[in-house]
């Protein structure tokens, strides 16, 4: 019996979910007992990466948002030269220092570290949000006066 054959037998046992497999061919004998059944072992966390049933692209007649089984979005490979400026607090986004005043920055503006990008008003306090990098504002992601959550992206800045 070759290793390949034994490997096949092991795969077979795993596939079929049986507890134990014993094979003898003439003088050859193989006995496979699957690990899950070998000991009354305490549990190991299930792998985080299996395709959850509710997340499968099934033709469900209900709306896609009706499921409580939200899967975390896949982390996308991020562009190292693009930085998202996120809100550090919950509050209201203001693009300029006062109503009617011009915005601190616009798409295309070149910004420096420490430069004010916007204001988040929280509990009547105006919190200035500064850029941490030098770069060019590629996108403004929130409308003036819009409420923002913690961690919500405000601007995309291309570092230079």
């Amino acid at each position: 019996m070759t290793v390949e054959e034994i490997r096949e037998l092991i795969n077979l046992a795993a596939e079929t979910g049986i507890a134990e497999l014993e094979v003898q061919r003439g003088d050859n004998r193989v006995r496979i007992r699957r690990a899950a059944f070998a000991t009354q072992q305490e549990f190991v966390l299930a792998p985080q990466s299996y395709p959850a049933p509710m997340a499968a692209p099934s033709p469900a007649p209900v709306t896609p948002s009706a499921s409580p089984s939200h899967e975390p979005p896949k982390e996308k490979p991020s562009d190292p030269t693009q930085v998202l400026v996120k809100s550090p607090i919950v509050g209201t986004f203001y693009e300029g220092p006062a109503p009617g005043a011009p915005p601190f920055v616009q798409v295309g503006s070149r910004v420096q570290p420490g430069q004010v990008l916007c204001i988040i008003e929280s509990m009547k306090l105006m919190n200035e949000i500064e850029s941490e990098t030098a770069g060019i504002v590629e996108a403004k992601l929130v409308m003036n006066g819009q409420p923002v959550e913690y961690g919500e992206a405000l601007f995309a800045v291309r570092t230079v």
């Binding site: 966390l45 299930a46 409580p68 089984s69 975390p72 913690y150």
Partner: protein
């Protein structure tokens, strides 16, 4: 009955400053009242049911509670940007934080709970005890106020008789507590407890009380409106605890008789009305070996175990909290006089090893809820959800009802056997052992039950 014709407000939207099953519970109450809801959540709870079932949801910070569920500014900001009328604090987190209640008030948000000064009074335990003693509620013999010195503690302990217990004024959850069996131990244990209390609660103020070796933990549920009406919704038996963490509660208590219930309820109605307490609350007692009850503290919020009282009274406590906060009167809110019918038991299904009690966070890969007659489940979990390691381990509350205690136990056994949770450990097997225990079945137990039981 108070001033009946006072105009009550009608909330349009409520923010729920909590997570997990109690956030879902408050959402249910709001849906039942036709009030819209705002959930707040930390980054770790993005996929939690309370986010799914609220009308709106706002991320208020990272996983760490201090920067999310305990962050007053973030929560108030979330309330402001969503234009809510009121905030329900749930239990734990900011629910008994008088400062938070105050900030809500100054921000024009109705805090669904007692007024800040009442929360503060009830939070300072020796003041609460003094108040209850004055009002004729039986209180455990103990120090009249904060212990001023080890010498005063020794004097008081000699008067009361050993053993005594040292407790932190601002404490809870078993921290800052020490049992003292003889005078020689007292000074060093006091110092230890003070240190622990300072670290945990920011105050080293201590008091002492008579220590009962084998007490039962019994608590009375109350509702109080804003016009001086108070109703007592019977008691709950909460003696099945491990290190002061309740595991299982029931109502009524197998150890409280009708006469005692009526006496305590009468005393409490008077005391609570005099205290200016409003909204829902729980008055905790210890029962000594002779069956006498002693007041220990007030929990100025809804309790985890409120569903057992809801089952036996038929009163929706969380809905009542909201209606009280809207300015409605108890006679308007309650369908009739408060009566107890049948028996109810709650098992806390925690994500933990049932033998070692070690928390067991992780992904729930299989989840099948029991149902059928006499079964209620309050949960935020679902198939494929992840129990985060950052918060308490409560996955679900399994509550059963029966026409008597025996029926409630049988139904709990049935429901436990049909409750399937895969991927994590849960306390289900522990509850099955408790249900099968002859002492438990006979109603013979005290707060040491789990210790005896674990052997």
């Amino acid at each position: 009955m108070g001033r009946l014709c006072l105009p009550s407000v009608r909330f349009n939207k409520i923010l729920i400053a909590n997570r997990g099953e109690i956030a879902v519970r408050v959402i249910c109450a709001c849906k039942d009242l036709g009030i819209r809801t705002v959930a707040v959540y930390s980054e770790a709870d993005r996929y939690s049911s309370h986010v799914r079932f609220a009308d709106q949801a706002i991320c208020i910070g990272p996983a760490k509670s201090a920067r999310s569920y305990l962050d007053v500014a973030s929560i108030i900001s979330a309330a402001e940007i969503t234009n809510v009328d009121a905030v329900h604090p749930g239990y734990g987190f900011l629910s008994e934080n008088a400062g938070f209640a105050e900030v809500c008030e100054t921000s024009g948000l109705k805090f669904i709970g007692p007024r800040p000064e009442v929360i503060r009074l009830m939070g300072i335990k020796e003041r609460a005890r003094a108040f209850m003693r004055e009002m004729g509620v039986p209180v455990l013999p103990g120090s009249p106020g904060v212990l001023k010195s080890p010498e005063e503690a020794l004097e008081l302990a000699a008067e009361i008789g050993y053993p005594v217990i040292l407790k932190a004024s601002a404490g809870g959850g078993g921290r800052g507590m020490r049992i003292v069996n003889q005078p020689s131990e007292l000074p060093s244990l006091l110092a230890q407890a003070q240190q622990e209390a300072s670290a945990a609660f920011g105050s080293g103020d201590m008091y002492l009380e008579k220590f009962i070796g084998a007490p039962r933990h019994i608590e009375f549920q109350l509702l109080a409106d804003e016009y001086g009406n108070v109703e007592i919704l019977g008691e709950r038996e909460c003696s099945i605890q491990r290190r002061h963490q309740k595991l299982l509660e029931e109502s009524p208590s197998p150890a409280v008789n009708d006469r005692q219930r009526a006496e305590i309820s009468t005393a409490l109605r008077k005391a609570i009305a005099a205290s200016g307490y409003t909204n829902a609350g729980t008055v905790e007692f210890l029962m000594d070996e002779t069956g006498k009850l002693y007041f220990i503290e007030v929990n100025a919020r809804v309790q985890v175990e409120h569903p057992v009282s809801e089952f036996v009274t038929g009163i929706d406590i969380v809905k009542s909290q909201i209606r009280i906060a809207q300015g409605e009167t108890l006679p308007e809110i309650l369908p009739g006089p408060v009566t107890l019918r049948g028996h109810s038991i709650e098992c806390r299904i925690n994500a933990e090893n049932p033998d070692t009690f070690v928390p067991s966070p992780g992904r729930i890969t299989g989840f099948h809820l029991p149902g059928g007659i006499g079964v209620r489940v309050d949960t935020w979990a679902y198939t494929d959800c992840v129990i985060p390691p950052y918060y308490d381990s409560l996955v679900a509350k399994l509550v059963t009802y029966g026409s008597d205690r025996g029926e409630a136990i049988r139904r709990m056994q049935r429901a436990l056997s049909m409750f399937i949770v895969e991927g994590i450990h849960t306390s289900i097997p522990m509850h099955q052992r408790i249900m099968a225990d002859p002492d438990f079945q006979a109603g013979n137990f005290d707060t040491n039950f789990i210790k005896r039981f674990a052997k």
